[in-house]
């Protein structure tokens, strides 16, 4: 049985699994890759944790972004506003 799975390349290393996990964040995986990952997760807690780490990483980055977007104390400085207006005036639009 195990031999057959290896022949089908359904059994993959953690190194290969980690690449597939990263790709899974960027779009739907091809069917064989999904199967490989499913099998791998059955036998590997480390890669399950790695998968979780990448999802937390991705959520956290969006958290940083949202904190800035929603922070109304962050404002375009008066200097910058004046500079932008005078730059546009000088170009006579």
């Amino acid at each position: 049985m195990a031999e057959r799975l290896i022949k089908l390349k359904l059994i993959i290393t953690c190194k290969d699994a980690s690449k597939i996990i990263s790709q899974s964040l960027d779009g739907p995986l091809p069917w064989p890759d999904r199967m490989k990952l499913k099998f791998h997760f059955l036998i590997c807690d480390s890669c399950i944790r790695f998968n979780r780490q990448l999802h937390i990483l991705s959520d956290a980055v969006k958290g940083i972004r949202n904190n800035i977007e929603n922070n109304s104390t962050i404002q375009l400085s008066l200097n910058a506003k004046t500079r932008i207006i005078s730059m546009i005036d000088s170009k006579n639009y």
């Binding site: 979780r52 956290a60 904190n67 109304s72």
Partner: protein, 185 residues
Amino acid sequence: MTPNVNDWLNEHGDYLYRFALARLRDPHEAEDAVQETMLAAIKGNNFEGDSSARTWLTGILKHKIIDLYRKKIHEQPLSDFTDLDASDSSMDDFFDKSGHWLDKPQTLDMPDNALEQKQFLSVLSDCVDKLPARLATVFLMRDLHETDNEIICNELQATATNVWVMLYRARMGLRKCLEMNWLKD
């Protein structure tokens, strides 16, 4: 319609600035992006009344942000770009010869309470700064600005494989950095 930069800046300037700052992480670049947006808005003057001015301006800003990302990437020395093969040696730090984790990934959780969460995000921010600049920019383009991989490939004139390898390496480095700097006892 007479475009009025004054009104746009007063009504949407802060919003656009925060939008840009959240993605570019540099106040000067964020100001530049807003300035470029205003210029393009006034030059193009193709605002159609069926969307709000804010939506329209944000749409322009999104493109300006991608322009700035692209510029950042092309400013980096090429050496950063060369070693793009995920197949092997570049991952020797993480896996042994038979492909097993050298250090097993640890449980990493986003803290619940606000103060710790803030600290977590600040550790992550430092980790992003420690990445090679190209990797950091590609990572921010993808995970922060949520640019499609296809657009990233076009902008960088890189193959899909190159882009996913860069993302893979960036993520590998970041989660390791978080483990080392956040989980330390």
